[in-house]
Amino acid sequence: MIKNIQKTEGIVIKHIPIGEADRIVTLISPSIGKIRAVARGARKPKSKMGGHLTPITRVKISVAKTKTIDQITEVETIESFREIKEDLYLLSIASYIMELAESFVQEDTEAKQIFNLLLQSITLLQIAPNTKMLIKFFEIKLMSQSGFKPEMIICSECGIILVPGSYKFSFESGGLLCHQCTQKIHTLTNQLSINSIKLIRFIQNEKFGKIAKLNLTDDLQGEIENVISGYIKYILDKDLKTKSFLDLIAKQTKNSISSKSLL
């Protein structure tokens, strides 16, 4: 029995086939957070919905609340992000940031900030030359918006203001530790250089326009990658499925002349 219909917009994250011709689709919406709903007949060639419910598509959608799983009644594409879908490297980045966003969004909970961040990042992905910084921008902003902002100004244990220098980052405390607390607390930590600390603070406070201009050394890139990926893994308590694919394609893209498709 259909109770009510909610109209919202959303970004299609993934889908799985179910039954003869249906699909269960997962979306992130600003108004009701994560949506998991069935699209009846979406796998049939003549389906009015199938083509619109492709991952990495921004859509207008109507969802009927039912006693069991919600049902998609109408869908229309707002933006299909074609450039991303036709480039394997961009696609692997988009898959990663979408899986990450999905992990931080709950069902039936407003997620306007995360939705806007995801939309902004996917839109930028089509034009941004600095994709590595875009990933870091997304990760760090997402954590801040989800209540896991890495503490980079004061000691995350005792609260004293940290003078410029190199410190250890504790996953458990969610930020830097002063030298005294580092001695007392035995948790998972990573050493961060003064430049890495400055960089994370910069990303936390600046817009992408400024961040995109940065060109990092491999050492700095690796240091930040270790801390941020480790912290995300600690928060989520799982490995992201898309991460290994992103790493594989990034490695291949580095060696290859182009990852553009001929499709």
Partner: protein, 203 residues
Amino acid sequence: MANDKSASKSITNLIEQFSKLPGIGPKSAQRLTYYMVKTPKEQALSLSNAISELKEKILSCSECFNITEESPCYICSSQSRDTSTICVVEQPIDLIHIERTGVYNGLYHVLNGVISPMHGIGPESLKITELFQRIFSLQVIEVILATNPSLEGEATSMYINNFLSEKKIKTSVLARGLSIGSDLEYTDDLTLVRALEGRKFLN
């Protein structure tokens, strides 16, 4: 129901077995089971024999990974097939559909899935390395990428194409666009773009 105490053990067992099939819920499983109770013994046995025969005889072709009763399959061992072309498909069922058209006379390669990062399926889970080995050993001239026009299918094609284009091997994809009998009004933007790009001149 499957755990109904009034039903006999063999009935609950069969209901459980039917429920494991795709698209069969507990109610359908129950209906099928009670139908089998009423079915003549010969008919029920022929079904059970057909299933065991399938599991005993069917194997995966050592060349193209199609399902077959003999390995290599009839296509890979045929003398009349064009070995300079390989058509790459996701599943054995896709091969059957292309074969049914009767217009293709080359070889096939079944990947047994598609790259789907969101579901943790990477290129290493598919028969892609085997495909590359075949392409080089058979000296293939053209590789037709016949994966589905879904995001995952296209990602798989792009992955294969990236590798083959570096090796200077010609690749092609099936035409993208409107399907026969579909409605332009309800077609998504990307399909329309592809349909326009792939338009054909009539004169």
